[in-house]
Each structure stands twice: as structure tokens, then as C-alpha cells.
């Protein structure tokens, strides 16, 4: 098998294995499905370029996470006006992306579900990144600190604050 074909195969395997995860990560970090699709595409393009040019051994999963986080940060910085315009979250029932209420909505109730998403979107970017990587993607604290360039103590502090706020949105459910 030629080197070019090997690289192409590597890319296709990585794309198949990681695209859903990267797409979900971008959707949560940007909280905007349309922008997330664009950024996911950009990240996968960088992956293709890296597969074609990189000669070192790379741990692709954390590499993709880092690239995706940085791409989302760049997108947030670049489109501040659009984000500001759309930051006023009024989650009308007919504006839910997806069809029908999910099990979570049924458990939470529409209002709690709305409040949870609103709180999540209003988390400071760093807290959102830490929470998503640690509790949605299931990365270890060490992996999160490496992906975000933070020390583990900072990761824990951001995580605790994010959890505190998100639980506050759920209210007293006991």
C-alpha cells in the first residue's frame, strides 16, 4: 500500500471515529448548531492536512480535542456581534432543534429544561469548556488541563463553579 493511500485510510478511520464527538463538542462549546457544523468541517480539514503532512506519532484524540477547542475559541472571538445578537436566549417551544420532547425534557419539564440550557449557555467560556470536556466527553482532569492549557487546580475550580451554577438551574429536585 502506498504512503498516500495509507494516509488517506488513516484520515477516513479517524474521521469516522471522531467526527460525531467533535461535532458534539463544537455544538456545546458554541451553543449554535449552524456554526458548529462549519467549525467541525474546519477541524476535519485540519485533520486531513495533518494526516498528509505529519510524520510524528500523534495521539489523535487529544489532538482533535485541542484543535476543536481552539477553533471554537477563534469562532467565538470572530463572530462576537452575531453571538451578542443571538445571546438573548428566549427558548420558544417551536425553536427547539430536533423533533419532539426528549426523555430529559419529560423528566425536567419544559421550563427547567429551558433554564438549564440558558444557564449552560451563559456559563463563562472556560467553565463551559471544562464542564463539557470533563462531564460530557468524559476526559480525565489531566486530559482537560492539557487540552485547555490550564493547571489541574484551575480545572477543578472552573468545574466546581460550573456544576454549582448548573445545579442551581435545576433547582431543588429532592
Amino acid at each position: 500500500m502506498s504512503a498516500a493511500l495509507e494516509r488517506r485510510t488513516l484520515y477516513e478511520e479517524l474521521d469516522r471515529a471522531h467526527r460525531p464527538r467533535i461535532a458534539r463538542l463544537c455544538r456545546l462549546l458554541l451553543a449554535d448548531p449552524d456554526e458548529a457544523d462549519d467549525v467541525t468541517q474546519d477541524v476535519m480539514l485540519k485533520l486531513l492536512q495533518a494526516c498528509e503532512t505529519e510524520v510524528r506519532q500523534i495521539a489523535w484524540a487529544p489532538w482533535l480535542t485541542r484543535v476543536a477547542v481552539n477553533a471554537c475559541r477563534d469562532r467565538r472571538r470572530g463572530a462576537w456581534w452575531r453571538r451578542w445578537r443571538l445571546d438573548h436566549v428566549e427558548l420558544a417551544e417551536d425553536e427547539i432543534a430536533g423533533a419532539g420532547p426528549s426523555p430529559e425534557e419529560r423528566v425536567l419539564g419544559q421550563e427547567e429544561w429551558r433554564l438549564l440550557w440558558q444557564t449552560f449557555r451563559r456559563l463563562p467560556a472556560r467553565q463551559r469548556e471544562v464542564f463539557v470536556l470533563r462531564h460530557v466527553e468524559g476526559c480525565s482532569t489531566q486530559d482537560v488541563s492539557e487540552a485547555l492549557g490550564l493547571n489541574p487546580g484551575s480545572v477543578k475550580r472552573h468545574l466546581f463553579r460550573a456544576v454549582h451554577r448548573l445545579r442551581g438551574a435545576l433547582g431543588d429536585r429532592s
Partner: protein, 154 residues
């Protein structure tokens, strides 16, 4: 010591950290165990909601809010520019040594200029009348009256 665990300590235990004393307490305190279970349930619910649930679309701010915010931003910029211009004007005056000018000073200076002009015009008129009268008498007034003229004029 048998104090119940705080939120941070409970979260540390949930994260697989925390002290042995806290962990021991959690196993012996029904209240803390209940709170711990609630924390775990909440986090699981948040995780499933964010990961698997539908994502709400963002709604744009109302056009009224946008207009108000834009107007406020423009007013702030105008105010900032005005203050900056005022400060710059003061700085220029200070450079010319007239930084302490007040409205009174300006008024005095204006009226003083008017009075000088009046005095000058009266003086010119007198001189013109005298010249006219002299001309009617067939004389010419000595140019010595003009302080700038040659002193030897006859």
C-alpha cells in the same frame, strides 16, 4: 468531629478525590449520603440533557433592545469624544499660558477691545472734523498733530 460535608467536599468525593475522613463521613452520615446521591443524579441529568437531548436554537434579541443598546453605545462614544475634545482644548489653552481664562476674563477682554476701538474711532473723527474745518478756512492742519508724523512739520 462529625460535621456534615460542604458542597465542595461532596463534589471532590464525586470526582474521586477528597480526604479519607470525608469519605468515611459520607459512609456514616445518611444526610450527606442523600446529598451525594442527589449530586450524582443531577450531574447525570445535566450530562444526558447536554449530550443527547435536543439543542434549543438561539433567539435573536428584539430589535427594540438592539436599537436601545446601539443608541446607548453611540451616546457613550459621543460623550467620550466630547470630553476628549474639551480636555484637548484645555490643554492647548494651558500651553498658551491662558489656562486660567474664565468667562469674566473673556467678557472683560471683549469690552476692553470695544472701548479701545471706540476711543480710536472718536479720535479719528475729531481729527477728520478738524481737517475739514481747516480746509473750509483754506488752511491745512499741521501734520504734527499726527503723533506718528515727523516732529519738524510746520
Amino acid at each position: 468531629m462529625n460535621r456534615c460535608l460542604g458542597e465542595r467536599a461532596l463534589f471532590s468525593l464525586y470526582e474521586g478525590e477528597g480526604t479519607d475522613a470525608d469519605r468515611t463521613h459520607l459512609h456514616t452520615c445518611a444526610g450527606c449520603a442523600t446529598r451525594y446521591d442527589q449530586l450524582a443524579a443531577d450531574l447525570e441529568l445535566v450530562r444526558r440533557t447536554l449530550r443527547d437531548g435536543p439543542m434549543p436554537r438561539r433567539a435573536p434579541r428584539s430589535s427594540g433592545a438592539v436599537l436601545w443598546m446601539t443608541a446607548a453605545a453611540l451616546a457613550t462614544v459621543a460623550l467620550a469624544l466630547g470630553v476628549r475634545g474639551f480636555e484637548r482644548g484645555r490643554a492647548l489653552l494651558a500651553e498658551d499660558g491662558v489656562a486660567s481664562l474664565s468667562l469674566g476674563d473673556v467678557s472683560t477682554a471683549l469690552f476692553a477691545a470695544d472701548a479701545a476701538e471706540d476711543a480710536l474711532s472718536v479720535s479719528d473723527t475729531d481729527r477728520e472734523v478738524a481737517s475739514l474745518q481747516a480746509a473750509l478756512r483754506g488752511e491745512w492742519p499741521c501734520e504734527r498733530q499726527d503723533p506718528l508724523a515727523d516732529q519738524d512739520c510746520d
